[in-house]
């Protein structure tokens, strides 16, 4: 029983990371209709910048992390301005931005490999990641608590932003119909820029947590998050905050428990089996509602 509970703790903390990643990924897609395959690179580069900063200057992790998140925000803004905004102006649809994001992903992956090579690098918060406390018969890392709390806080803040603020109203308006929002006086350009920054920042936080939880970073860190994060976003309902959080935790648990009780070879099968079930039975996600399009 203790092992089962221990695995649940591990699964929940990893699930929190997946949920965070899916929140940013889904926010971008729900608002801009951009399926950004380079989204994982924000997570990767946040870790690389944090690692390189600590190696070069010796500053504490938290200082390096703030800088890394700022860099990721700038990357998100630049990517939107250079790659996606011109395609939006030309009404390029879904395929253009998708193919562009694939190209950006490949290019950034090459840059990441040049930056830190292929060997995994250690990411440490000065030993904080190893500190633990006992909860019944279970050993809980303080980092697990930070991961889950971060997910909860960011989800709540995002919900308040989107549902309780004028900016959120503008975001939803632009996501629903950009032209109508323009008519109402909303600057879609600023909204898209804000979304780009927000989604990159959330991805960066997810990446840094992932790096600390696993103890290692590599150029492929973001790719792994992207694959699972995509599944979480679909299962939870793209852009649905509640759904992304619940799906993230669920998939984190499924991953860990399937490895233990079925074998490592069933990990991906379990995760993507769940994705397949939702695509067939409930493609709009846990809380999503099917959209009707009238002529």
């Amino acid at each position: 029983m203790d092992l089962f509970l221990q695995l649940c703790v591990n699964g929940l903390s990893m699930g929190a990371v997946y949920a965070l990643f899916a929140l940013g990924f889904g926010l971008l897609f729900a608002t801009t209709s951009v399926l950004n395959f380079a989204h994982g690179m924000f997570a990767t580069f946040a870790c690389i910048v944090a690692y390189a900063t600590m190696q070069a200057t010796g500053v504490p992790f938290i200082v390096a992390a703030v800088g890394a998140i700022a860099v990721a925000a700038a990357m998100g803004l630049a990517l939107d301005a250079v790659a996606f905004a011109p395609l939006r102006r030309r009404n390029a649809g879904l395929l253009g931005p998708l193919m562009t994001s694939v190209g950006v992903w490949i290019a950034l992956l090459a840059v990441a490999e040049m930056a830190i090579g292929q060997d995994a690098r250690p990411l440490s918060a000065g030993g904080f990641e190893s500190t633990r406390f006992a909860l019944g018969g279970v050993s809980v890392r303080w980092l697990d608590v930070v991961a889950v709390a971060s997910c909860a806080v960011i989800a709540v803040l995002l919900h308040l932003l989107l549902r309780r603020s004028r900016v959120g109203l503008a975001i939803r308006a632009v996501g629903w119909n950009e032209r109508s929002a323009l008519v109402a006086g909303v600057s879609s350009r600023r909204i898209f820029a804000l979304i780009a920054v927000l989604s990159a920042v959330i991805a960066a936080i997810a990446g840094l947590l992932d790096g600390l939880l696993t103890g290692a970073i590599s150029p492929q860190l973001g790719d792994e998050l992207l694959i699972v994060g995509f599944a979480v976003a679909i299962v939870g309902g793209v852009g649905d905050i509640r759904g992304s959080v619940i799906a993230g935790f669920a998939i984190g648990l499924i991953e860990v428990l399937s490895v233990q009780y079925l074998g490592a070879e069933f990990r991906n099968a379990a995760t993507f089996g769940l994705l397949l079930i939702f695509l067939v039975l409930r493609p709009s996600g846990i809380f999503g509602r099917a959209e009707k399009v009238r002529a």
């Binding site: 591990n10 060997d119 103890g215 860190l221 233990q260 490592a264």
Partner: protein, 400 residues
């Protein structure tokens, strides 16, 4: 009869097109013929260049082994060429092809070097890659010198050779380490494995066999897949079972991360490992989690072999750092191939090289003296095992 203007133009255009097409075919044929030259190219009858293909992962998850192996091969080829080992004017030229740690891309990489005229191939860093390279070299009748793939069934003289003594071989590093652990009072053990890699699975099975033969009860198995970075689940499993000994047989990088994860999860027992946990990169990743970890390696930097001393000093001079086992693997494979080329009498003939390699029964290597049986190298006698110390150095681990 006067030809109408339009017809005349079409006729002229057709003739022009035909001329261009003929020119294009001629040029293409010339290029193709040039590319189809045999693996040994003679320039002016004086110098002979022998093409050798190197098919390794220079990028991707297994590149932490592939890149050092490439360095070892490069050093060996430099020494072979500069010393005139193959004879006056005969030099090896390496054609590299990156498998990107992907067996599917390893197929294309192997095809690339074979179609480039390689008379021999060095490759197979991992078992999945070796598994797809082998059929292609066998079909092309080109000898393959394997690197660090662990599947013992791959070697097959005179087609496929492995100059790295396998730790899983009877009486090998794993068997000796298991016996030593048992003699030190270990009663229970768990194994941790990269479950989707046949080579690691094979290595793990050998550990289980040798441990049980030594009277150690294997109480469980933890597993992860290639590329898995979230190892907290398997680590928790080990901490919960709390065996006296944990054997880690995982891919490079993942093994160090798992050693760290199990220590973080509170496991305080002994740890033994497959040989890839012997590199400085592993120490940089896992740090003090490796203190006291025993590595069942055939490569011991402190051993007293002349070839090892020469290799260590040459490598340090070229790369300004100490070599690791993967450097040694590449270096040894290249020298082994050169031995076959020299003995063959015709280093441009794949068939002659393959037969000569099959006739090699012993070789002095950086791992010590090895003997060959059906293409596979074996080390007899006590093996240089190693143990990490708290300050990040590898020291010999005394064996019985």
């Amino acid at each position: 009869m006067k030809i109408p203007q339009t017809q005349q133009s079409r006729f002229t255009r057709s003739r022009t097109l035909l001329r261009w097409a003929a020119a294009g075919v001629t040029v293409a044929s010339a290029i193709a013929l040039a590319g189809c030259q045999g693996g040994g190219s003679s320039g002016g009858g004086e110098a002979t260049t022998v093409e050798v293909g190197l098919v390794v992962p220079l990028t991707g998850v297994v590149s932490s082994a592939g890149v050092p192996q490439q360095e070892g091969v490069e050093l060996a080829v430099e020494q072979i060429n500069s010393s005139g080992y193959l004879g006056d004017g005969v030099e090896i030229s390496i054609t590299e092809a990156d498998t990107e740690s992907d067996p599917a891309k390893a197929i294309a990489a192997a095809q690339k070097v074979l179609s480039g005229g390689a008379v021999a191939v060095i490759g197979g860093t991992s078992t999945p890659e070796a598994g797809v390279i082998k059929p292609r070299t066998v079909a092309a009748n080109v000898p393959l010198a394997l690197l660090s793939s662990l599947d013992p069934t791959l070697t097959e003289a005179p087609s496929v050779f492995r100059s790295l003594p396998l730790p899983s071989a009877p009486g090998g590093a794993n068997a000796q380490a298991a016996k030593q652990f048992a003699s030190e009072g270990v009663k229970t053990a768990m194994v941790a494995v990269t479950a989707d890699n046949d080579g690691q699975v094979s290595d793990t099975e050998s550990w289980v066999t040798y441990l049980e033969d030594a009277g150690v009860q294997v109480v469980g198995r933890a597993s992860a897949n290639t590329g898995d970075t979230n190892l907290t689940g398997p680590a928790a499993q080990v901490a919960d079972a709390n065996p006296d000994l944990l054997i880690i047989s995982m891919l490079p990088g993942q093994d160090a991360a798992f050693a760290k994860a199990v220590r973080d999860s509170g496991f305080a027992g002994r740890i033994g490992s497959y040989q890839s946990l012997s590199t400085q990169a592993a120490w940089e990743l896992a740090g003090k989690a490796l203190d006291g970890v025993v590595v069942a390696t055939v490569y011991s930097p402190g051993a007293d072999f002349p070839e090892l001393k020469e290799f260590t000093s040459s490598f340090a001079e070229k790369y300004d750092r100490q070599p690791n086992i993967q450097n040694a693997v590449g270096y040894t494979a290249a020298w082994f191939l050169a031995r076959g080329m020299k003995d063959s009498g015709d280093p441009t003939s794949s068939e002659a090289i393959a037969e000569a390699l099959a006739d090699v029964t012993s070789l002095d290597t950086v791992f010590g003296p090895v003997r060959f049986d059906n293409g596979q190298a074996f080390v007899d006698g006590e093996l240089p095992l190693a143990i990490w110390t708290a300050d990040g150095t590898l020291e010999p681990w005394r064996t019985q």
